[in-house]
């Protein structure tokens, strides 16, 4: 498909010629997101500056039946922003203004291109923060967070993006603009806001977002415990939850990941540990103190041979250092790796970890485990060497791990999204009827199928194709965006 000159001229007229990209070299920049194995060069990239300009673009696309894909910072890991060949990419990069800070209402109104961390920066001095903290938060945008319903290390206590969005301006796939919610909660009728958040850019383009910000906690305590085995660390996680404690984060790393982190950033984790548990508590000081003592007791009871606590910012950062570098550190122990994103019920963690170990042995490939243990969100890293022809085996292993998660009653994805990457895996979690109803919802928003087509719901055309191997994304290489 080729776009007509008249179509391009119309968008140039609406947005200004300098905000419509047609040069092949420049278009190539947009050929993929963080899932670099999927690539497609768009026909056109537009950079609108307002809701009205987005509306003009979408109306033109709708009239000419041109598919379009919205894009934020391109840090997504499921190919949610992979362009459609012959289509238009709508980059929201220029819509990066914080429109209003209303701390009386504890709301901040932003455009979609605002970086996640900038929301917290805008309110930090007043003692507030924006809770969802995906690890790419320095660069990933609020628009992308809304599309993916992003979480982060602290979502165990604070929830996901959907819990922190109270209003959206949405340009529907036919160009109509709707306002969903606002500063107040509970609009009448079905929760449209709740279904648009996390819809991976398939139900329209969000152009303005009202966010809830949260008062900073009185106390924060970060704890680190070293265990002989992941089983022992897993038992400690269960013990903490059973004690009625709700930490803001519980993260686990296994032996291979700890080794890689030591090689990369030398965080000085307990020597010889088969598993490290990182627990963060926040809230009212009296409660945090009491919970911290209880967490230490539980960890030691479960066999922790070393226990550290940090209360100030600098020593907390040190404890987090190894965890935050875990993905990038894998480059020290393997040439290639494939990161999986699956979820299991927390209580099934030990058995699923054992199953992953079996699968690792039977496939003859190493797997590093680093994950959000508190909510059962696993990120197994399958290590392989593409030059040794191990790519296909790595993919099979990653798929088998996903099956193990689903067998345990979990989910295909906890935070990276379905996108292109897992659209073809959806039938492993959802029945044909479930998917058919998803399709009904999508067609109600987008009858012509123009808005981010080929994502989330499997199509026969799409699912015949095999994606390429994972390559380190340019942003990650420079250490800005890492995968969590």
């Amino acid at each position: 498909m080729s776009l007509t000159a008249a179509f391009v001229a119309e968008l140039q007229e609406a947005l200004g010629a300098e905000h419509v990209i047609t040069e092949p070299e420049q278009l190539r920049v947009y050929e993929c997101d963080g899932l670099t194995g999927h690539r497609a060069v768009p026909e056109l990239v537009v950079l609108p500056h307002s809701t009205e300009e987005v509306q003009a673009v979408v109306r033109a696309c709708h009239r000419e039946r041109v598919p379009f894909v919205a894009r934020g910072a391109g840090t997504g890991l499921s190919g949610g922003a992979t362009p459609v060949a012959g289509g238009v990419v709508v980059s929201l990069a220029r819509m990066n203004r914080i429109l209003e800070v209303d701390l009386e209402s504890r709301r901040v109104v932003v455009e979609p291109g605002v970086a996640n961390l900038d929301v917290t920066r805008a309110v930090a001095e007043e003692g507030f923060f924006y809770a969802p903290d995906p690890s790419s938060q320095q660069v990933c945008t609020i628009g992308g967070n809304v599309a993916e319903n992003s979480g982060g290390a602290h979502c165990l206590k604070y929830g996901f993006t959907v819990h922190h969005v109270t209003g959206l301006t949405l340009v529907l796939p036919d160009g109509e603009v709707v306002e969903l919610g606002g500063k107040a909660l509970d609009p009448d009728g079905p929760d449209l806001l709740g279904v648009v958040v996390g819809s991976e850019g398939t139900l329209g383009i969000v152009t303005r977002i009202t966010l809830r910000v949260v008062r900073s906690p009185e106390a924060v305590r970060t704890l680190l415990a070293g265990f002989e085995t992941t089983d022992a660390a897993g038992a400690a996680v269960s013990g903490i939850i059973a004690a009625g404690i709700l930490p803001s984060a519980i993260e686990m790393m296994d032996r291979l990941t700890i080794e890689a982190a030591e090689l990369a950033v030398a965080p000085g984790y307990p020597e010889g540990a088969g598993a490290v548990l990182l627990v963060e508590l926040d809230g009212v000081a009296a409660q945090v103190e009491e919970d911290a003592a209880e967490v230490e007791r539980i960890c030691r009871e479960c066999g922790a041979f070393e226990f550290r606590a940090a209360a100030d910012e600098a020593s907390r950062a040190l404890l987090w250092k190894g965890r935050k570098s875990a993905f990038a550190a894998m480059g020290r122990v393997a040439t290639d790796y494939y990161v999986q994103d699956g979820v299991v019920p927390r209580t099934r963690l030990p058995e699923v970890l054992r199953r992953i170990e079996e699968l690792s042995r039977s496939h003859g490939l190493r797997v590093g485990n680093v994950f959000h243990a508190g909510d059962g969100n696993l990120h197994p890293l399958v290590l392989y060497d593409a030059e040794q022809g191990e790519t296909e085996r790595a993919r099979e292993l990653a798929e088998a791990i996903l099956d193990a998660c689903l067998d345990a009653g979990g989910s295909l994805t906890g935070e990276h999204g379905v996108g292109m990457d897992k659209a073809c895996s959806m039938p492993r979690m959802f029945s044909e009827r479930d998917l058919e109803v998803f399709g009904r919802l999508r067609r109600a928003f987008d009858p012509e199928g123009l808005c981010n087509p080929g994502k989330v719901i499997p199509t026969p055309r799409l699912c015949g194709e095999v994606p390429g191997p994972y390559r380190v994304h340019a942003l990650e290489r420079i250490g800005v965006a890492e995968r969590l």
């Binding site: 109509e176 609009p187 449209l192 927390r346 959000h372 059962g376 999204g417 109803v437 919802l441």
Partner: protein, 306 residues
């Protein structure tokens, strides 16, 4: 009134109405009273999956035996399906949110009998469209809610209530919300009273109560004030939604109400138009048209229409 007691029965009943072009209103022509089991409660995961006909009180009594609760406390004792469909919440909403914030997954029966699930039973999951949230507030117009998975919370070891009587309600509320206290509930019993629920370990609750008193004064009171709040909410005839920063203006315009300041919702004794946020008629129409398209996609024959 036919009460269905299985997914299949619900599917067959609705499919028959769909084919015959007959209406079958949920809660009126069809109820889920027989669909009231707890299918799974994984205490270690703080999750449960229930059939939608179960009453909130029955569910919470069962969960309490394991030291847990579903943190929803609307007035009355609705079924779980009604709690979702009518988007019901109570004082605990201050900290724990509305039904949409606690739903992990649903199984729906559509008007044509199609049984479909969305979400899952794990606390973290972004696969597929979130139909569990979509049906919150849907008033039974989109589908029959048959099964629901929830995120649960541990029962607090201790709970104490502070009651502040004051002529300066907005100032007291602002001071509490500006503080680093973390109440589980904060209601304004307008006019003149603010109730604060503090939950947690005994020592932490004591510390919070002392800190709150230091900030806004008041005296400890028993839990019956929360019953009063729920009663008044249940008996309300109007609802006002507002940006939380507009609390003072909203209170000035009301004679008697229960107000949840952080959510920006007031349940009023007066009959008032709901939805006070300024929105142009055009914009409201656009949302209406979108809702209608979704309703038609789910229920083309209008089986579930009121």
């Amino acid at each position: 009134m036919p009460s269905v007691s299985s997914l299949r029965e619900a599917s067959e009943t609705l499919a028959a109405a769909h084919v015959a072009g007959r209406r079958c209103r949920i809660g009126e022509d069809l109820t889920t009273d027989g669909l009231d089991g707890i299918l799974e409660h994984e205490a270690g995961d703080l999750t449960c999956t229930v059939e939608a006909g179960i009453r909130l009180s029955v569910l919470n009594a069962a969960l309490a035996r394991h030291g847990q609760r579903l943190s929803l406390d609307p007035p009355g004792d609705a079924t779980i399906g009604a709690v979702l469909a009518r988007n019901l919440s109570g004082p605990l909403r201050h900290r724990f949110g509305a039904p949409r914030d606690l739903v992990l997954g649903v199984t729906l029966v559509l008007a044509d009998g199609t049984i479909a699930s969305a979400g899952g039973k794990v606390v973290k999951n972004v696969a597929g469209y979130d139909l569990g949230r979509l049906v919150c507030g849907s008033q039974g117009r989109l589908a029959l809610i048959a099964r629901v998975s929830f995120r649960l919370h541990p029962l607090p070891k201790a709970a104490r209530t502070l009651l502040v009587e004051t002529d300066e309600v907005p100032a007291a509320v602002a001071a509490l919300l500006r503080s680093q206290l973390q109440p589980s509930a904060l209601d304004v019993l307008h006019p003149g009273r603010v109730a604060v629920l503090l939950e947690g370990s005994e020592r932490a609750v004591d510390a919070q109560l002392a800190a709150a008193r230091g900030l806004v004064g008041g005296d400890e009171t028993g839990p019956e004030v929360w019953e009063e709040s729920r009663m008044r909410q249940g008996g309300a005839r109007g609802r006002v939604r507002f940006a939380p920063g507009d609390l003072a203006d909203v209170l000035a315009g009301l004679s008697e109400a229960v107000v949840r300041p952080s959510a920006g919702v007031a349940y009023t004794l007066e009959e008032l138009p709901s939805g006070s946020e300024p929105q142009s008629a055009d914009a409201a129409d656009a949302v209406q048209r979108l809702s209608e398209r979704i309703r038609l996609a789910f229920d083309p024959n209008g089986v579930l229409a009121p």
